[in-house]
């Protein structure tokens, strides 16, 4: 919402500077995002009347104007613009003027003629060209005939106004109208309101004879007011109205459209005008669209309608999309003689659905979505008719048609839905008689209209208000739940509750002052609190806590104390899963890998590049219906594609040696959405490595290969508390995306927990990666399955007896794996064998073909004594014999 400072000052007395007011508004819940200042301080600009135009003797494209600027003496001004004629009033920059863009004006000779100033275009005046018609943008900006010659152009065009940009939260849609902004300012500052007076219409009169209104779907429209204006003369609206509309961000069109927009900007109530003569049978039917109906809206689009959408129809066809946009066929044009003005209240959610379905959002739908003030409807129509007459756009036809299915009963000022009511009629304060005319614009507005708002709250005057203590007679639990006053809920507000929620000690009298400033109506009071009703324009105030917030924000959040909760002390901690994820992260980082975070959604094609067979879990994707792009169209079923993308991005930036890991969720449909359950989400650890630890002056290069990541996994698992013997690999030939000869299932205590391998060359090709990449992934829930492991503090006592280390190099045929040899070694040893570590693998000259040499380092240690060489030798003997017997292995010495 854009708020013109000058307009606002006309509606409410303001003593603060714009900056001070902006700060006050922001700190009380109506955020001011910024203040738009005039682009430049314009000086020396006067309204000039062109009296005579003649061609320039020395230049085809220039004209010489004789201009009256109210000085008596006429000035000679040369212009290049072609849109000026004698009789036009134009903005004239006199010597010494500075225009937008810093252009300064001096007397100058133009092709032999002295020019004593310059005629200005809209752009030179710093006007927002988006808000101007094409004619106004071209050439010199022509002023209306009724401006005074010699007047200051800055004043005439309001060029020194500034605009507050409000960033409204959805609950404060009331501030989409200037008057409610003014009311907010009045409540905050105590400034006097000066809202315009409006003459109300009656329901009888000529209008009722000229049209009829029928609402067929009351659930979507609970009030529709029609008024008629005849003898319409379409013309531009007056300058002041155009300027205010432009300040509010609305482009002026013509007097009729401008008035409806102007009233919308004033009140927040959208209006629409129809060409009365083009309405078949001159009547209005509010109904759901019929299947197959269509309408051409004002923007020229043909739109298909359906029964979900509410339309305004005449006797035969839809003429407007209710609350969203009018139709072209009944649009007000130059030929229009009579207009029918619509002011209505539509169901917000329905307007929202329609505008979303059609992709059509307007100033009108924006307001209706948030539900406008139903009590304002007739009043806004009256205001528009008043303005149309006032600016000479037409003649008001007396009376109105007010179709109001939800109308509160006239004779019952208090009406309620609960069967029992706590206030007997006799208890009503006298002031309730004010409510006799239920249709005055809004609760409390009559004061506003007569200029008294802000001086006294309704119903709170001495003598008028009978304070009764009702709490004993009417226990709280017997109170009816829903109680209405003038269509607004009656709210019980307890003093104690306010302070309990806020942690404050605000006195009731202070609360009262705040609520009064907000035009809250006080209905009744007892020892513990009030029964109050909010004004009709504050639709957001519905229950006690809403009023607590109102009190808090006007009291100021800054004044609320700072305390700490007083309840029992609790223990904050991570649960098992969270602890393991935490330890996994720390472990991976300690091992030199870098953590990355990739998007959870990926390109489906990328995932498919892994080449998984039909029915594989990788293909069990959850699909995003409305992705921003194909890159984010499905939820990832594994981490690898994201990690490969990260590798690729880094390779593109010449980062060649990479070690990454990611801890994140993968998603699998598992029957979603057919089976009515959410998809499966599983925490996963993924890692990739590529390139090498680069050679340095001190050591050689080390490839990040399969064995590098295998070592990372081993360290991870021992770091989490598993024994080295818990971890094993089992070769796997057909894992999607992996090299068939270099892939393995990761086994933990014999159960598969993930996969390790080199990425398949074809996959690398697809991802345009031209170096080998190794990867692993581990299903993290497998790690918190062993709860006892994660919780155990794994401290093996360090013995004081020394260990003996022996190397053992053996020759075995190529097909014997290192794991088989290690297993045999362990079988032959006892518990003194603490570690078996393969430290060398050799194939080559001194060894026969298809054989290899494996060199192990064995560590022996007893918990209770120092082992002797002899004791260890016995085992080595056994091991050597067993190796020879099983594999035909020989020792290599």
């Amino acid at each position: 919402m854009l708020v013109s400072w000058k307009w606002l000052k006309e509606l409410v007395e303001i003593e603060k500077t714009p900056e001070e007011l902006a700060d006050l508004l922001t700190m009380s819940g109506v955020a001011v995002d910024g203040i738009i200042y005039p682009s430049i301080e314009l000086r020396n600009l006067k309204v000039g009347l062109i009296e005579e135009i003649s061609p320039h003797p020395n230049a085809d494209k220039l004209l010489i104007c004789r201009v009256d600027i109210g000085e008596g003496e006429k000035r000679t001004i040369v212009t290049g613009a072609q849109n000026v004629q004698a009789g036009h009033k134009v903005p004239v920059a006199l010597p010494g003027a500075v225009l937008t863009g810093g252009k300064s004006i001096e007397s100058a000779e133009l092709r032999g003629i002295q020019s004593d100033g310059m005629l200005c275009s809209a752009r030179e005046l710093g006007m927002d060209e988006d808000k101007l018609s094409p004619e106004q943008k071209e050439g010199i900006y022509l002023l209306p005939d009724d401006v005074t010659v010699g007047a200051d152009v800055v004043q005439v065009l309001n060029l020194d106004d500034l605009v507050l940009e409000l960033d409204l939260t959805p609950n404060r849609a009331d501030c989409l109208g200037m008057w409610n902004v003014a009311r907010e300012v009045a409540a905050l500052t105590g400034g006097k309101l000066r809202l315009p007076e409006v003459e109300g219409s009656t329901e009888e009169g000529t209008c009722a004879g000229m049209t009829r209104v029928e609402i067929q779907n009351e659930e979507l429209c609970n009030r529709y007011v029609a008024r008629i204006v005849k003898d319409v003369r379409i013309a531009p609206s007056p300058l002041w109205m155009q300027q205010r509309l432009m300040a509010a961000g609305v482009r002026p069109i013509n007097n009729v459209v401008d008035v409806t927009n102007y009233v919308m900007m004033e009140t927040g109530q959208p209006l629409h005008s129809f060409d009365y003569d083009r309405l078949r049978e001159n009547r209005i039917v509010v109904r759901r669209a019929r299947e197959g109906e269509e309408i051409v809206t004002l923007d020229g689009q043909r739109r298909q309608l359906n029964p979900e959408m509410l339309v305004i129809a005449d006797a035969e066809r839809p003429v407007a999309l209710a609350g969203v946009m009018g139709g072209q066929e009944t649009e007000v044009t130059e030929q229009t003689k009579t207009i029918l003005l619509e002011s209505a209240s539509f169901n917000g959610p329905s307007i929202r659905r329609t505008s979303h379905a059609l992709g059509l959002r307007s100033e009108s739908s924006l307001r209706f979505e948030k539900t406008v003030d139903v009590q304002l409807v007739r009043w806004a129509a009256d205001r528009a008719v008043q303005l149309l007459s006032q600016i000479g756009a037409g003649m008001a036809v007396d009376g109105c048609v007010d179709c109001y299915p939800g109308r509160p009963p006239q004779e019952e000022p208090l009406h309620f839905q609960a069967p029992k009511f706590y206030l007997a009629k006799s208890h009503l304060p006298k002031a309730f008689s004010w409510a006799d005319n239920i249709d005055t614009p809004f609760a409390g507005a009559e004061q506003g209209l007569s200029g008294q708002q802000g001086e006294r709250p309704p119903f709170a005057q001495e003598g008028e208000f009978e304070i009764k203590e009702l709490s004993e007679e009417f226990p709280e639990e017997q109170m009816p739940q829903e109680l209405w006053f003038r269509g607004r809920p009656v709210i019980r507000l307890r003093f104690r509750r306010v302070n309990e929620i806020l942690g404050t000690k605000i006195k009731p009298v202070e609360m009262e002052t705040i609520l009064q400033a907000l035009q809250i109506t006080f209905l009744e009071k007892d020892r513990e609190g009030w029964w109050v009703a909010p004004p009709s324009y504050r639709r957001d105030l519905e229950r006690e806590v809403d009023l607590v917030e109102e009190i808090a924000r006007l009291y100021s959040y800054e004044r609320i104390p700072t305390t700490l909760p007083e309840g029992v002390t609790t223990q904050g901690q991570r649960n098992t899963e969270q602890q393991i994820r935490y330890r996994v992260r720390k472990n991976m980082v300690a091992q030199g890998l870098m953590e990355v975070i990739n998007y959870s959604f990926i390109n489906k094609a990328r995932l498919e590049r892994l080449g998984y067979p039909a029915g594989h879990p990788f293909g069990d994707m959850v699909v995003v219906k409305n992705p921003l792009s194909e890159e984010q169209a499905v939820m990832r079923t594994c981490l690898l594609p994201g990690l490969l993308d990260t590798v690729k991005r880094n390779l593109n930036k010449r980062n060649k040696n990479l070690r990454f890991f990611e801890v994140g969720k993968i998603f699998r449909a598992e029957g979603f959405p057919e089976q009515r359950k959410l998809p499966e989400e599983e925490w996963c650890l993924g890692a990739v490595a590529t390139g090498k630890r680069e050679k340095s002056w001190a050591y050689g290069a080390e490839e990040y290969d399969f064995y590098y990541l295998k070592g990372v996994i081993a360290n991870l698992l021992t770091g989490l508390g598993y024994g080295a013997e818990d971890f094993a690999l089992a070769a796997v030939q057909d894992y999607p995306g992996l090299h068939p000869g270099r892939a393995a299932t990761i086994l933990l205590k014999g159960r598969p927990i993930g996969v390790l391998g080199e990425v398949h060359p074809l996959v690398l090709e697809e991802f345009e990666i031209d170096q080998r990449v190794v990867t692993f992934s581990i299903d993290l829930p497998q790690l918190w399955a062993d709860e006892e492991v994660s919780r155990k503090v794994l401290l093996v006592p360090v013995t004081k007896f020394p260990a003996i280390s022996r190397d053992l190099a053996i020759l075995v045929p190529e097909e014997i794996t290192a794991a088989e040899v290690e297993k045999l070694i362990r079988e032959q040893a006892n518990e003194w064998l603490k570690e078996v570590r393969l430290f060398d693998l050799y194939r080559g000259q001194q060894i026969q073909e298809n054989w290899k040499s494996l060199a192990f380092s064995l560590t022996w240690q007893a918990p209770d004594k120092t082992l002797t060489d002899e004791e260890v030798n016995i085992f080595h003997q056994k091991i050597e014999e067993a190796l020879a017997a099983r594999f035909g292995a020989g020792l290599r010495r």
Binding site: G29, A31, I501, F601, P679
Partner: protein, 340 residues
């Protein structure tokens, strides 16, 4: 024989002086004082001496031995010091060659910030709750007082999977899920870190980002407690001199609601580009849990009250580390990651 001994001593002392290395001295010692050494050889002839001569010669021989031993020890000491000096001299290295430490990894700045936030709130007795990233419309919106067709849904443009299922737009649904689990017990003190998703993509928005939500429900929880807890958090996270400022705002699931600002971490509140000259940075949204949300979660708002807050982790990380483009956080360029 005495003559012999004197001559030996003289000769030996001369030779000893010529010794340059520890090995020379040791060899010298063997040569003179060893089992077959020259002094020993001479003393073998003692048997032929008269009983009168024997003690005299014996004493002289001992004197010679002691004197030589003493000199040897002295020389050895000197030579060892000298040799150590020489070795150290020969072993000096080029200290400017690069170090050879193991490569280190880095944690992602976002996960570091989340851990830090977790630890601050664990210190205040909060536990960590998590929930699904694919969420029911009910928990994401309805249970938080955002019915279908409510304009507040515009605040969060969502990714939908079906009309009823979406990628959660905030971590707040875990509030509702937790209340369902814990009702009617109090206190509830949780924080909820996690990924959330909205249809936005530019320098300040990412379609996937992270939030940390907080919820506390107990008897007599007040708005002033919310201020206290958030001030405590701000001071631990951004420094002991931090101030916070609460501005009224609107969230459908809290009331009263507030936007919470911290004093600008760049300019300490003086005003700079980062804070648009205001001295304040908006860091989180908060408020008292709306009675309707408590009711839907199975709590009686007349008996318990609560507060909730939520913050964007990216925003905190960007402020903490001076990152100006959110997209950097998801590009995972090692040159970026290495800096944390």
């Amino acid at each position: 024989m005495q003559e012999q001994l004197r001559a030996l001593k003289e000769k030996a002392e001369q030779e000893l002086q010529a010794c340059q290395k520890v090995e020379d001295v040791q060899e010298f010692r063997v040569r003179y004082l060893g089992k077959k050494g020259e002094l020993t050889q001479i003393l073998r002839g003692m048997g032929q001496l008269s009983p009168e001569e024997r003690p005299v010669v014996g004493q002289l021989a001992n004197e010679v031995r002691d004197s030589l031993e003493g000199k040897i020890a002295q020389l050895l000491e000197t030579l060892k010091v000298k040799e150590l000096e020489q070795r150290l001299l020969s072993e000096s290295i080029d200290i400017t060659l690069p170090g050879t430490a193991a490569e280190i990894g880095r944690q992602h700045p976002l996960s570091m910030v989340i851990e830090e936030i977790e630890e601050i709130f664990m210190g205040m007795g909060f536990t960590i709750e998590e929930g699904p990233e694919i969420e029911l419309d009910y928990y994401n919106f309805e249970a938080l007082n955002i019915p279908k067709d409510h304009p507040a849904r515009d605040m969060q443009d969502s990714f939908y999977l079906t009309p009823e299922v979406l990628l959660r737009t905030h971590t707040s649904p875990v509030q509702a899920r937790t209340m369902e689990k814990t009702k009617p017990h109090v206190p509830v003190k949780i924080i909820v870190p996690g990924k959330v998703y909205r249809r936005d993509d530019d320098a300040t928005h990412s379609p996937m980002f992270h939030q940390v939500e907080g919820l506390m429900i107990d008897k007599n929880i007040r708005f002033s407690d919310l201020k206290g807890v958030l001030l405590n958090f701000a001071r631990q996270m951004f420094g002991a001199d931090q101030k916070i400022r609460l501005r009224p705002s609107f969230f459908p699931f809290t009331e009263p609601s507030a936007e919470v600002d911290i004093s600008c971490v760049m300019c300490k509140g003086v005003g700079c580009r980062t804070c648009s000259q205001t001295g304040w940075l908006e860091i989180l949204g908060a408020g008292m849990v709306h009675p309707r949300v408590l009711e839907m979660g199975g709590y009686n708002p007349e008996e318990v009250t609560g507060f909730a807050f939520g913050m964007g982790v990216e925003r905190v990380a960007m402020l903490k580390y001076g990152i100006d483009d959110m997209r950097l956080l998801f590009e995972n360029d090692v040159r970026f990651l290495r800096q944390f």
